[in-house]
Symmetry: C2
Subunit: 527 residues, 2 copies
């Protein structure tokens, strides 16, 4: 049962008079539930509560924090049926996809629980004193500590895994921060159900009131107030370039600077090298087509850009791509804005004289659906129009044809930062065209060999974050364990009494974590 209210810590709140309903692409109509957009004063209340709560929360033991994260996963599991039904109605995504995404979300929470419990993520580092040195050397010990309150903007294309209890929230809570979520207006119902799960978990595990809040918004005002609130210590965002950059710029007007991590997507270039192309043109075409239309192309890692050298296999590749894309059944888009923007993106390409359509889905899209499309053009034409390297969010990809290796390098040189890059090549290809592969490494955050960029593993080695404009800071990832590093900073303690030090830095390594002592990794205690 939804009530449409904001969650200011444990309190449901509807103080404002701005209300809205969620459009369902499945129904083609507004859903009945009325939601109350948060007011500036409700945001202030959430921040005040969060500030108090975080000071208590950060002192909770690792076990307590881990049990909170696991309890969130359990509460989501308990409510999975309702959450998935609501998300399906609000997003138009299939139940199958949402069931997978739900599992990904709870697994992610459990992974962070494990990381918190193990404890080494704080990067404890100890340089012991040397009183005998000419100028006596002090004892210095440092570790990561939480930043405070993290404002999380939820993503429309992952209503679960990159939203209310998604990777940003999980990593912010894992590193000891309070979280205030700005819910996406197109999945306000899903958000409320997941927020309830988080709050129930907080109650059951004795977490302080205010450690998590969720605010509804229908226009930009609450998001802007969140980014500029003086007591917010970090922001994370997943979404469009325009949205992410606007929030980033707004944050520069604050009195203080805070970390603003925005993941803004990219075109995820795929380079197909000659030997592989000659060997497997049909397989490549099929693999790529499936990745392009997956989830109607609404992934930040969608392969929207393919580069190939003219040669054997190209005709087969194109023919098979054409066949596969034409056969694709149009799918529902997440919401009307995305559907409209997709159409406008295609129009931009079609308006360019040297762009040729290779294929469009044969089936006519129904209401709120979009069909896949692929186009191609010569490298020399592409290079002249940098605007053609901008993302078209949806099931579209552009194939750029090059005369030779130099032209491939020139095309890659013209691209900006990417979340992922992909090379399709035999071992021979990789050796022969190492300059191309190296260039792909240099412009992206993750370099994939003979696979597709869609599907982002949640683990220790994942890096989901590339140079700008893929993100606002390519040194951080928003997926995987290291996502915690966005929301923590080192503090060094010099000559602190052992009694005052946090457990991770005390002489006795009671948690048995890995620490760097005098530059050497060790689990020993200090004697």
């Amino acid at each position: 049962m939804l009530d449409g209210k904001n969650r200011i810590g444990f309190q449901a709140s509807a103080e404002g008079d701005q209300t809205f309903k969620v459009f369902s692409p499945v129904k083609g109509d507004l859903l009945p539930q009325l939601f109350y957009a948060a007011t500036a004063e409700e945001l202030n209340k959430a921040v005040r509560k969060a500030k108090q709560a975080q000071r208590v929360y950060r002192t909770k033991s690792n076990e307590e924090k881990a049990s909170f994260l696991r309890a969130i996963a359990d509460e989501i599991d308990n409510r999975a049926e309702g959450i998935i039904n609501t998300a399906a109605l609000e997003s138009g995504l299939t139940r199958g996809r949402l069931t997978g995404e739900c599992m990904r979300t709870t697994n992610q929470l459990k992974l962070f629980a494990q990381v918190v419990e193990e404890g080494s993520w704080v990067e404890a580092t100890i340089d012991p004193a040397d009183p005998k040195r000419a100028a006596p050397k002090p004892d210095i010990r440092k570790m990561l500590v939480p930043l405070g309150i993290v404002g999380v903007f939820t993503a429309s294309n992952f209503p679960l895994a990159f939203s209310t209890a998604g990777g940003d929230t999980a990593s912010a809570l894992a590193s000891g921060n309070a979280v205030i979520v700005k819910a996406h207006p197109y999945h306000a119902g899903t958000n409320e159900l997941v927020a309830n799960a988080i709050l129930e978990a907080a109650k059951k595990t004795g977490m302080p009131d205010g450690i998590f809040s969720s605010l509804n918004a229908v226009d930009f005002s609450i998001g802007q107030a969140l980014v500029t609130h003086p007591d917010i210590n970090a922001i994370s965002f997943t979404g469009s370039f325009r949205g992410g950059r606007a929030l980033y710029d707004l944050a520069q007007t604050r009195k203080d600077l805070i970390p603003v991590f925005t993941e803004m997507g990219s075109i995820n270039p795929v380079v197909i090298l000659p030997e592989q192309l000659e060997k497997k043109p049909l397989e490549l075409a099929q693999t790529l087509a499936s990745s392009i239309v997956l989830g109607s192309g609404q992934f930040c890692t969608n392969p929207g850009f393919m580069v190939v050298m003219k040669g054997k296999g190209l005709d087969e590749l194109k023919l098979k791509l054409k066949e596969s894309i034409e056969a694709c059944i149009p799918q529902l888009m997440l919401h009307p804005n995305i559907r409209v923007a997709y159409g406008e993106g295609l129009d931009k390409f079609n308006a360019f004289a040297n762009f040729k359509t290779l294929a469009t889905a044969k089936t006519e899209p129904k209401e709120n659906e979009s069909g896949a499309a692929i186009g191609y053009m010569a490298a020399k034409d592409f290079i002249l129009k940098p605007a053609l390297a901008e993302e078209v969010f949806g099931p579209f990809s552009l194939l750029v044809e090059c005369d030779d290796e130099d032209e491939v390098l020139e095309v890659l040189e013209s691209l900006k930062g990417q979340l992922t890059t992909t090379v399709m090549g035999t071992d021979n290809d990789v050796k022969t065209y190492q300059d191309i592969v190296d260039r792909l490494r240099d412009i992206g955050g993750r370099l994939i060999f003979n696979g597709v960029p869609t599907g982002v593993e949640v683990g220790y080695a994942m890096h989901h974050g590339g140079p700008y404009p893929a993100t606002t800071d390519g040194r951080f990832t928003s997926v995987g364990v290291d996502a915690v590093k966005r929301f923590a900073r080192p503090v060094a303690f010099q000559d602190a009494p052992d009694e005052y030090l946090p457990p991770e830095l005390k002489n006795r390594n009671e948690r048995n974590i890995w620490r760097k002592i005098d530059g050497q990794l060790s689990r020993e205690s200090i004697t």
Copy 2:
């Protein structure tokens, strides 16, 4: 022998017609050498060379990079006499201080050499494949890679350790980047001598032409061009808040966003707790006075702010502080701008009715010198004037007197981010006033117990970087081994052929570095 020219890689260059001379506070006059400010075209040349050079340099083995860093240290040692003489003339700092700073600089280079040679700093992380999983799990491996070209602004207050071959240059080279230095106009001669040492080391160890360049500047134009150059990948700066923030803001106008790390100093609050005050008022006064006047207070970690609760020992503390400061002999200031700004800073305080001078140096300052000064005021007056919490760069400190613990907390609550915070307290004090100590931890980058903030150890555990406005990103340090993290970003390789992978990520752990495999630290090879 100086020639006053820029260094565009191995080439001395003087294409511009803007020239300048360096003012010597020792001589009270301009030094004879003419320096040529770099032109925009000289900057472009340096960047073009750096881009080529970095692509070669990053492929050099760890041993080669380490030998380059050690060779720089050796070349500096070979020229130490001349470097120190020139630096003394240009900065007014004593030969003793500069000899120490020179050793700090070469030790720093050698420490980074050791870190590069050992190799684990790249944070190699491997999540092996699991082909048996329902959706087969790919092999993902990530490590830190260099950003490209780092633009380094040298600091006037450390002509060696935070300048041409200082921590920024050393950490940027260690992590595989090319460096372009914008020399400080007040130590252009020292810069040239050190640049020569770096370039000689590069030649001797076979490093590519362009891996290091040094540009002279007399106005802001070259610095601005460096920050906005499209091929510059990161900026580091140590200096004033105004300068750092201006460069940071300028960087936001770039087409792409890049890391801009600026260390902008702070007032480094010291809280003196009651039991310690009662026990050791004289010792505390002496310790603090020495730290306040060290190097004429021209350190970013100068203790410019002291907080105390009224009670036993306070009168003795103030009396002894007065005595010590009055006895201090005025010292040369680095350059006239700093001397003038110091005077203006004192004027600002003196103009405030509730500010009382406790002591000023009795000896009249000679030309280009400044004398130390200490003032005090009541907490309730201080809290009303946030402008009084701004740094006065030089030998000044403000003592704020509080009625009770709550007032101390209120004062601390009003402060912005700090590089360091210090608590003077017995173990009992630390327990009794834990809220105060925790608050000091929360606003700074390094929390010192019963010591002084001046003196920043170069090691593994050092954190020299606090929340804004101490720096533009408190998650990074500009001193110590972890300074490399500012100039590197992770790249993940998915299902890469072992042959293509960098040595750090290959199956065989031939460098015997620490790697995280499936979340576990290990030195094992992958089988």
